[in-house]
């Protein structure tokens, strides 16, 4: 195997990985702002993609109107999810919150498919399908666009979490009770984090929908997104970006070597193995906070 091919695998892996990061940012956001594991991000992403399509196709808006409008709608939905589903479970054991987000995921997926049907559609963003040539290396344009979106979101959230609102959200994740005691509206903060994650879902839904079509397979990104989030440390956005790149490369290069050995389809296996190894070796991930124990 020559070096150029390996480089191509690595670069395309890294780009795909950044798209996983794009998805994982939604998980990290909510964990960072409320210590709640969000297993509904797959359903949210799928719903977001369908909403964009519904606005673009069924209503007939141009995409540059449909996407921001969908983001706005999803922003509202995020607040709604907090208000309806999560507020009453604040302070309950993690297993119930986990189940709640799983239930939401199942509901969102079922409802989306019941409304719009399961046949795959494409977004048609208008990004060309002919690959870019960088020296001898082929690079997909849409992956490049997605990676740019991921990095832009990363930058935006980096700034956001240093702002006063962002600091308040981090305070909520640390201690609900103490946040209430100094007048932080925990409910509004958690709602905001779900709203932002829903907006991230629009970005992920559009990009992934363009790549693999808008259908229920979008919700299967959850395992990859979770792996990226955990590997990066559940509450680190920088971690999500870097872990995405790492997972993308490991997956792409690893699958190239493993697939001939096992007869294909080793990507899922590699992702699951990375998740297991991360939790076993370094549960707080590459950049996650460990719970501080004072000596």
């Amino acid at each position: 195997m020559d070096l150029i091919f390996l480089t191509e695998l690595a670069i395309n892996g890294a780009l795909t990985g950044l798209l996983y990061s794009l998805f994982a940012i939604g998980l990290v956001l909510i964990y960072k702002a409320s210590s709640v594991p969000n297993l509904a991000q797959g359903g949210l992403t799928m719903l977001a993609a369908y909403v964009v399509l519904a606005l673009a196709r069924d209503v007939g808006m141009p995409l540059w109107v449909a996407i921001p409008l969908a983001a706005l709608l999803m922003f509202g939905l995020g607040f709604g999810i907090e208000r309806v589903a999560l507020r009453r479970l604040a302070g309950r054991p993690v297993i119930m919150i986990l189940m709640m987000t799983l239930g939401l995921d199942i509901f969102l997926r079922g409802a989306t498919l019941a409304i719009w049907g399961g046949t795959s559609r494409s977004v048609e963003l208008g990004v060309g399908y002919d690959p870019l040539l960088l020296g001898d290396i082929f690079i997909s344009r849409i992956h490049l666009v997605g990676a740019a979106v991921a990095i832009a979101l990363f930058g935006a959230f980096l700034v956001f979490f240093r702002s006063r609102t962002g600091i308040k959200l981090r305070a909520i994740a640390d201690d609900y009770m103490a946040s209430w005691s100094v007048g932080i509206s925990v409910e509004r903060g958690v709602g905001l984090s779900w709203a932002l994650a829903s907006v991230v879902a629009v970005a992920a839904g559009v990009i992934w929908g363009e790549i693999q079509g808008v259908d229920q397979a979008l919700s299967l990104l959850l395992l990859k997104g979770l792996t990226v989030a955990v590997l990066g440390g559940l509450d680190s956005i920088l971690g999500a970006i870097i872990a995405g790149i790492i997972l993308g490369i490991v997956e792409n290069v690893g699958a190239e070597f493993l697939d001939p050995l096992v007869g294909g389809g080793s990507r899922e296996l590699i992702v699951a193995a990375v998740l297991i190894l991360t939790v076993m070796i370094r549960p707080h991930g590459l950049f996650g906070r460990h719970d501080i124990e004072r000596v």
């Binding site: 103490a178 209430w180 100094v182 007048g183 932080i184 906070r289 501080i292």
Partner: protein, 272 residues
């Protein structure tokens, strides 16, 4: 100001026979009435589980987070009925509760802790001025303003928790066991700062303490709570002089005279 005048002036906080139910079944406090005169420091004394923390939570609205509610009575702050108000609204009105156990935001720096507590309406420059003021009260915090609060020592965390409450511009500061687990010299330092803030800013303080000796040194009056009821109320001097208080809370008194024990428990039974 004579006692007469004081009682006529509108107290900043008054609680009238408040009852608190947890989970709709457990009665934690049973008809507590407390008044905090404007600009005064008042102590709430009592043993573990007497209902002191519950009283504070009823005032700050944090009961809801623990599935408790005020089932009877009313709480007035500055003349307004706040019994059913959201915790967040009460903080805006000027009640801030420093909860038990130094719960600072561990993964945030002290600086960010103070920022997190600042109301959104506060301008950036006002916030910075406020921070500087707090750092002059607690110079130890200034030194470590940019390291994670989880790594501060116990005393520093308590100072940070109090500083964080001060950012919310309270008119009534409620402290729940600030001396818990701290070395005596730190307790003295913290209490000194609290009374300094009280004098300089005219901030009213409601202090919950098990360390009655230290508390009675700085407050002007005190309430004694047992089994969810107020069993004694008086000025700090009167309480310090009371033989029961001395016996049970100050560790002094007439040694282990069993007459007094009987006398006290009889009285408790009568009251409860």
């Amino acid at each position: 100001m004579s006692i007469q005048e004081k009682s006529e002036a509108l107290p900043i906080l008054s609680m009238n026979s408040v009852e608190v139910l947890y989970d709709n079944v457990m009665l934690a406090i049973k008809g507590v009435s407390i008044q905090v005169p404007r600009g005064d420091m008042v102590a709430l004394l009592g043993s573990n589980g007497a209902g002191k923390s519950t009283t504070l939570k009823a005032i700050s609205g944090l009961l809801k987070a623990e599935r408790g509610r005020v089932s009877r009575g009313e709480i007035r702050f500055d003349g307004t009925d706040i019994t059913e108000m959201l915790a967040q609204k009460r903080v805006e009105m000027g009640i801030c509760h420093v909860i038990e156990g130094r719960r600072v935001f561990e993964h945030l720096t002290p600086d960010e802790n103070l920022t997190a507590a600042a109301p959104m309406s506060m301008s950036r420059s006002a916030l910075n001025a406020e921070k500087e003021k707090i750092y002059t009260y607690f110079p130890r915090l200034a030194e470590r303003r940019n390291s994670a609060a989880g790594y501060l020592s116990g005393g520093e965390q308590q100072m940070l928790a109090i500083g964080r409450a001060l950012v919310t511009q309270p008119r009534l500061l409620m402290l729940d066991e600030p001396s818990l687990g701290l070395a005596p010299f730190l307790v003295e330092e913290i209490f000194g700062i609290i009374s300094q803030i009280n004098r300089q800013e005219g901030m009213s303080v409601l202090l919950v303490e098990q360390n009655a000796l230290a508390a009675l040194e700085i407050v002007s009056e005190g309430y004694l709570i047992e089994n969810g009821r107020v069993v004694m109320h008086g000025t700090a001097e009167a309480l310090k002089a009371n033989s029961d208080i001395q016996e049970f809370y100050l560790g002094g008194g007439e040694g282990t005279d069993f007459h007094n024990v009987k006398h006290y428990s009889r009285r408790k039974r009568w009251l409860s």
